[in-house]
Each structure stands twice: as C-alpha cells, then as structure tokens.
C-alpha cells in the first residue's frame, strides 16, 4: 500500500470516526443522566440527515440543517415524555426492549415517509470531487466540515457541562439523582433535556456527514451498534474518551477494507465490541471498579 | 481442630483498606459473633469467607482445606451456608419452594433427567419436599409452607431464609445480622433458635449489632474496627476490654 492510499484510509477513518464519536456522545449524555442505553440513538442521526434533505428542497442549506436539528430535538423530547417518563424504576430488560421498540417505530415511519432510497445533502462547499491539498494528501472539503463541526460540538459540550448551570445540574443528576432533587434540581426536566441534547447532536452529525456517507431509512441501527461500541471502548459515560475511541474504531474499520472483502466491513466493529465486552467492559479509559459499581 | 481458620486476610477497595491482616479461628461447635462499628469491614469479611469477594492476600481454611479464591457455589458445596443482611429470598416462590432450593446440594437431577422426568427424579423430588417440610417443622413455620415468600412478615421471612440455609445441612452457618429489624420478642426467639441450631451440631459465625443477642448466645466474640481485629475473646472479657469500649463509645468512656 503506498503512502497516498494510507493517508486516504486515515482520512476516511477520521471522517467515520467523527460520526461514531458523535453517536457515542449522544449515548453517554443519556446514560449519564438516566442510566439508560438508548438503542434509538442511531435513529436521531438518520432523522437528522433525512429531514435535512427534505427541508433543503425548499430552504437554504444552513436553515435546512437548523430546521432538521430542531425537528429531531422535538422528536427526542417526545420520546422521553411519551415513553420514558412513565416508567417507575424499570428493569434493565424493560428499558432495552422499549428503546428497541422505539428505534423500530422511528425506522418504519421513516420507511413509510421517505421510502427505501438513499439521500444526501449536497456538499457544503465544492462538489463531490473537489479536494484540498493538505500536505500532499487530498482531502474533501466536506471532511474538514465534519471534523471542525465535530470539534466545535465537543468543545461546546465541554463548556456546557462544566460552566453552565444546566450542565452542572445534569452532572449532579447523573452522580446522584436523589441528592440532586433534594437540592431543588428538577430531575424530570433534566432527563427530557438530555434526550433533546442527544437528539440535537445526533441530528447535526447526521446532516453534516450525509454528503459523504449518504443516509437511508435503516442507517440508524448499524450506527447505534458502532456508536455503542465506541462509547464502551472509551468507557461508558466518558465523552472525551469517546472522541478518541471513535477515531480508533473509524481508522481500524477503514483499514479493514484493505484486508477483508467490503461486505465484512461492519463485522470489525462488532468484533471489537465483543472483544471489549469480554476483556475489559470498562473500556480503555474507564476504571474497572467504577464499571463494576455502576448499576447496569 | 478449628473448623474455620482465617490467617492474615486483607482486602482493599481502591483507596480503602476494608480488611487488614485479620486472623482468627472458629472452633467446631462454637457460636462466634463478629461485632464492630459501622464500616468496620464485617460484611466484607463475611463476603470474603463465602466467596463473593476474593481476598488480596491471606488464607481461609475450612475443614482442613483452603477455600479462599473459590467461587460462592463451590464454597457452599464444601459445607458453608449463609443468610444475608438484606433478606434475599427468591421472589415468586413459596416459602417451601425457597427452602427446597436449599436442598440443591443434596440432590442430583440435571437438565436431561429433568426434561425426561425420569422415575428417579420424581422420587428425588418427593424426598426433597419431605426434607424441606421437616425443616419447616423444626423451625415452627409449617403453616407458612404455601405462602409466597416475599409476602410474609419480616420476621417470618428471616426464619424462612434461615431454613433455606439450614436445608443445605451445612457444617458452618454464616448469619449476617440475623436479628436486624426484629423486635424484642422476635430477637429472643432468634436467640433460642440459634441455640437449637448449635444443638444440631452446626457451627455458627454471626455478624450482629444487637448486643443482648451477642452477649447472650456467643461463646466467643471477634471485634473489628476500621478493618483491623482489635479483640477476640469471651463475651464477658470483651465487655471490659478498653480498646473495644474506646471504639464504640469514645476515648473518655474507655478511660473510665
């Protein structure tokens, strides 16, 4: 493999890695405030992409994306209010099954609204063949959009969780819900907000990455599996680690195509997932004791 | 020869040394109590003996064989049964069925013979049920046999859990706070019950906060504080032990 191809694989890996990291961060936000793994996380990404494409048919691109994020956020809020809120101390099994059911519903609705075809937003700048020469490597401008918007999202979240009142409230809720409520924090709203935030981030990710990866009614599930893999790889709940883990998975996956037939590309993520679960479920950066203490 | 021998047992959780170099023995046929203020490491010690936790260092010898590092079900098979601080009865099962689970180690039917419902499994089933009813008679709770275990009164649940442990026919019975949540009358009954258990030839090692029960019934008392052993003696001597008084009531009282 020559050096150019090598870097192309790296670039592709980083691109996909960013979207996986975004899904993982969405998982972490909801997990941190509720302890739930939201199997429907991938669907937020799919919805973001699909609605953005639809909006773009009559709205300029930035407005379309904003509208898509807005709509998906509402969907996230609806899911929490309609389905999750009712449950009083549900068992893990019940939660898993409900979120799977929700994910199926969203997917089937998408199928009936948009059909089976793939869609994509146009490239934000340039076309599908334009390329910027960065140090000898040819990178599509869209990749720069993806990575920079991804970085902005991570930075924003950092600031949000550490320096804003609402962010700190969410962290309090995740550490100890009852204590947080005793301090006057409205836990129910925090939960709703975490779903909305996750949905928004997912939708944004889905929109910006759609020119490269295309989006279709069933893109959600594989993304959920890979996002979950990344979340676990970095340590469940740890969003900074999720970014690094996303890059690792993206790049590994990218290089797998060089070795195995393309059909097996998705398999590498699952193999990594199983490997992590069997060997070190606390993830690369997590602590084994904390993982054991947290109620699954 | 001692039934249970613990030597230099240690367990640490991150920054907390829960149990530190604890050594003691439990002689055959004795009733030994483990006391200490909250956070002293009593439950950790129990969990180390019953196999729920693995010690960092030290050894536990039971009936002449090393048992530290074994899994809980293996330790149960060696002859150690236990009850739990927060009652762990099996929900959706009657009191009798709970106790029948205690007969697991004394029955044999496996998956295949269970599925085929062979004659020997049916016979075994009857024996198990009969033995369990015997146990309920011994404990005086025969009338509770068909009640759903988790719907019983707290005191009754404690006795059912005790029956389940006894059904294992253990050599050593670990009781984790057997009197917790019991009123005075129930505590006195529990005292008498433990005495009758000793009469069956079973050695008892119990954790307890209720001093009346401890002092009344124990042959020996082991005192832990902050993970370390500070006393291991007969009950009367423990009551006068200045270290123990210091730990429970503070320095001034010890000086008095």
């Amino acid at each position: 493999m020559n050096i150019d191809l090598f870097f192309q694989y790296i670039v592709a890996g980083i691109t996909y890695g960013t979207i996986y990291a975004i899904v993982a961060i969405g998982f972490n936000i909801i997990y941190n405030s509720t302890g739930i793994i939201n199997f429907a996380q991938g669907e937020f990404v799919m919805l973001g992409g699909m609605t953005a494409v639809t909006f773009h048919t009559f709205l300029p691109l930035p407005v379309a994306i904003t509208a898509a994020v807005f709509v998906t956020t509402i969907v996230g809020a609806l899911i929490e209010v309609l389905f999750i809120r009712w449950l009083y101390k549900p068992s893990v099994l019940r939660m898993i099954i409900i979120t799977i059911g929700i994910s199926i519903l969203i997917r089937e609705t998408a199928l009936h609204i948009w059909g089976e075809g793939v869609r994509a937003l146009p490239y934000f700048s340039g076309t599908s063949v334009s390329a910027l020469n960065i140090g000898g490597v040819f990178v599509s401008p869209q990749v720069l959009w993806v990575v920079s918007i991804g970085a902005i999202v991570v930075a924003f979240l950092n600031v949000f969780f550490n320096y804003t009142m609402l962010g700190r409230q969410m962290r309090a809720c995740s550490a100890n819900r009852d204590a947080a409520r005793l301090c006057g924090i409205n836990a129910k709203n925090v939960v709703t907000f975490s779903f909305m935030l996750s949905a928004a981030i997912g939708a944004l990710g889905g929109s910006i990455v759609s020119p490269i990866t295309y989006v279709q009614y069933d893109s959600g599930t594989p993304l959920a599996i890979k996002g979950f893999t990344v979340a676990i790889l970095g340590g469940l709940g740890n969003s900074t680690a999720a970014v690094a883990a996303g890059m690792i998975l993206g790049v590994l996956e990218s290089f797998t195509i060089a070795v195995l037939p393309a059909a097996y590309k998705d398999v590498i993520a699952i193999v990594i997932l199983l490997g992590i679960l069997f060997i070190r479920p606390s993830g690369i950066f997590g602590s084994t004791e904390a993982a054991r203490l947290k109620e699954f | 020869m001692s039934l249970l021998s613990v030597r230099d047992l240690s367990k640490r959780f991150g920054g907390l040394q829960a149990v530190e170099n604890v050594s003691f023995i439990v002689p055959h046929g004795a009733i030994k109590a483990l006391i200490g203020p909250n956070g002293a490491g009593k439950t950790t010690l129990f969990n180390l003996i019953s196999g729920v936790l693995r010690p960092d260092s030290g050894s536990i010898t039971f009936d002449g064989r090393i048992v530290q590092g074994l899994r809980p079900h293996q330790i149960a098979a060696r002859g150690i049964a236990r009850t739990f601080q927060h009652i762990r009865l099996f929900p959706k099962m009657t009191a009798l069925e709970n106790i029948m689970i205690g007969r697991y180690l004394h029955s044999r039917a496996g998956f295949i013979s269970g599925m085929l419902n062979l004659p020997f499994t049916r016979r075994e089933q009857k024996t198990v049920a009969a033995k369990s009813r015997e146990m309920m008679e011994f404990l005086g709770i025969t009338d509770l046999a068909d009640a759903e275990a988790t719907s019983l009164a707290y005191g009754q649940q404690r006795i059912v859990e005790l029956g389940r442990a006894l059904a294992c026919e253990p050599k050593l019975l670990l009781l984790d706070e057997p009197a917790a949540g019991l009123n005075m009358r129930e505590t006195v009954e529990m005292c008498a019950l433990i005495g009758r258990i000793r009469g069956l030839g079973i050695t008892v090692f119990l954790v307890e906060h209720d001093m009346s029960l401890v002092m009344n019934i124990s042959d020996e008392v082991l005192v832990l504080s902050y993970g370390q052993k500070i006393a291991d003696d007969k009950p009367l001597a423990i009551q006068k032990n200045t270290e123990v008084i210091k730990v429970y009531l503070g320095e001034d009282n010890a000086a008095n």
């Binding site: 929700i102 997917r107 979950f228 699954f296 | 899994r71």
Partner: protein
C-alpha cells in the same frame, strides 16, 4: 404440577381441531403457514426458557436458527461429484452419509444425506452456543443485549456476504427431509397434513420436555438464579453453568427449527438472520408473558401466523415494534397471566401497572 398433562392434552386437541376445521372448510392451504408457524414456535419456546426462566436476554437468536438452516441447506445442496475420487468421500458415500440424487436438470448430485446434515447442523449450533455463551453470559443487562445483538449481526453479515452460502439470494433447491419412512418434510401439497402434524407434534414434545424441566430441580435452580442470583450462588447452584446450559438448549431448539423449516420451505435466505427477526422473537416472548411457556406459544401461533399470511402488510416490523413498546409500558409481565384482570382494573382506575421482580 401434573395439571400440565391436561394442558398438553388440551393443546393437542386444539391442533387437531384446527386441522379438521381446515379440512371441513376446504381451506387446507392454511396448513402451510400453520406448519411454518409451528417451526418458529419451536424457536420461541426455547427462547422463552432462556429469557423468562433463566432471565438472560438474547437479541441474536435468529443467528442460531440460521446456523441450523444454512448448514443443512449447504450440505444437502452442495455437489460433491467432482470429489468422487477422494477416498474419504467414497467411504462416506458407501456408508450412506452421502447420497446421489437427481437435480433439476436431470443430472446427478452427490450431496449429504439430510439426516447427516441435520446432525452436523445441530452439533454446529451446539458448539457455537457453547463457545459464544461462556463469555457472553458473564455480561449483564445492556451489555448482554448488545453482545447477543452483535452475535446475530455477525451471522447475518456472514451469510449475506459469503458467496458459497448464496450471498443475498440464499440457498434454494433444498431437498425434502425423509425423517422416518412415511414422514417426509417438504412443502409439497400432497403431504401437507402429515407435515402439519409432524411439526406441531414436535412442538408439543418440546413443550413437554420444557415443562418437565421447569418443574424439576434444574428448573427451580433457574428460577432461583433469575430471582436472586447471589442467593442462588450461596445455595451451591453453579449459576454460570446453568445459564450456559439454558443458552445452549435454546440454541439447539432454534437450530432444529431452522433445519426443519429450511427443508419445508426448500431453501433459506439471509433475511432469516436479520436483527428484526431476533427482535420479533423477543417481542413474542415478551407479550406472551416472559416466564409463560404456554403464553409464548399461543402468541407465537397467533402473531407468526398473521405475519406469514401477510395481514400486517408493509407494517410488519412496525407492528412488532409497537407490541414491544406497548407491552413494556403497560404489561411488562405479558398479556397472558392470572393477574391480568386485576391489572386491567387498576389501569382503568388510574394507577400504574406493578412490576414484580425481574
């Protein structure tokens, strides 16, 4: 406990009644979907054992179904004629393990005898379940769900992406399976009735075995593990081994279902391994009442039949998704249970539904 024999008898009567009904109304074609439903039900009751009694969720059971189906499909259709000279092949042919049969174009195929293929398929599923189950069952909750989902997805990707397994088209022209003289598993209309009774007879036998298991020492141990695993451990029950045994048992049921249905349908495709299929099976077990063998069986009968008849149309997957959500929200113990009337009353009067255990 012996009332289960009356239940079994009642169920058998129902099966017979259905067949007579179709005969009388001249609608024997219904028997085809009903037979297929029977084989899916075989998988369902095994899964019910795992989820309801052992308390372990599996979102990848379609994978075991496919292992059974694809192994048998491959061996009974793959032509070994080109290896006729090979001594091992010749020996197997002489032993009757390999048979010669005509293909569609009048030529001769040297393939594995369906019985041998069936045994190999079951052993493969057993082996995979044993190998995968060990590490997977150490996980709990979300992690277990994801791991089983991952397993199912790997099987799906493998059958979808491998050419000698037919890739997207799957394997077809799978020959009928002559189980015993007179009983041939095939979709042929002339043997519809026999196939119907064979399939449901097998399901009945399966239910009997599982009912026996539930009421046996092993079944009680499983209930104990499900109810309070640490207490079960303390009673000497080797929890890991029991969970694994149940997992393997349910995998074997699933694989058998896969083998027989493949012969009945004459083929198998990658869609049988899809995540949606696995989810569907879990939905049926959930709605039937997690730890309710009869409940799961009835729900399987109704839902699988309706789905196979196409009553749900393009909303097939959506229906199962809705079922999952509604059941988990309002009836987490399933629909078919003794307390259903009490819970309905409570629901109507404004209280929530209690969730016991799990």
């Amino acid at each position: 406990m012996r009332t289960s024999y009356t239940q079994v008898f009642g169920f058998t009567a129902l099966i017979v009644a259905i067949q007579i009904l179709t005969m009388v109304t001249n609608s024997s074609y219904h028997l085809t979907q009903l037979t297929m439903t029977a084989y899916y039900s075989l998988l369902i009751i095994g899964l019910c054992m795992l989820i309801g009694y052992a308390g372990q969720i599996s979102l990848g059971h379609a994978g075991f179904f496919c292992i059974g189906g694809y192994v048998t499909a491959f061996f009974t259709t793959h032509d070994l004629s080109s290896h006729k000279a090979n001594p091992v092949i010749a020996l197997l042919a002489k032993a009757g393990i390999l048979i010669v049969r005509p293909d569609l174009y009048g030529g001769d195929l040297l393939t594995v005898h369906p019985w041998a293929a069936c045994v190999v398929a079951m052993l493969t599923a057993l082996g995979v379940a044993w190998f995968v189950g060990g590490p997977v069952l150490k996980l709990k909750g979300h992690y277990l769900a994801m791991a089983t989902l991952g397993f199912g997805t790997i099987v799906y990707r493998i059958v979808l992406g491998t050419t000698f397994l037919g890739a997207a088209d799957g394997i077809s022209d799978v020959p009928p399976f002559r189980v015993l003289p007179g009983i041939e598993i095939s979709g042929n209309a002339s043997v519809r009735v026999i196939n119907y009774y064979f399939a449901w007879g097998l399901v009945t036998a399966g239910v009997l075995l599982l009912l026996n298991l539930i009421h046996s020492r092993a079944g009680r141990a499983l209930a104990a593990i499900h109810g309070a695993e640490d207490a079960a451990d303390a009673m000497g029950i080797p929890t890991a081994r029991y969970k694994l045994n149940t997992f393997v048992l349910s995998a074997v049921f699933a694989a058998l279902a896969g083998v027989l249905l493949t012969h009945y349908n004459g083929g198998i495709g990658p869609s049988e391994a899809s995540v949606m299929k696995s989810v569907r099976y879990v939905a049926i077990v959930a709605i039937g009442g997690m730890a309710n063998l009869w409940g799961s069986l009835f729900m399987s009968l109704i839902l699988n039949y309706l789905s196979l008849r196409g009553y749900f149309g393009t909303y097939d997957d959506a229906v199962f998704g809705c079922i999952l959500i509604l059941i988990m929200l309002f009836a987490p113990e399933g629909l078919i249970r003794r307390s259903i009337l009490r819970d309905l009353r409570r629901l109507v009067s404004g209280g929530g539904v209690e969730e016991t255990g799990s």
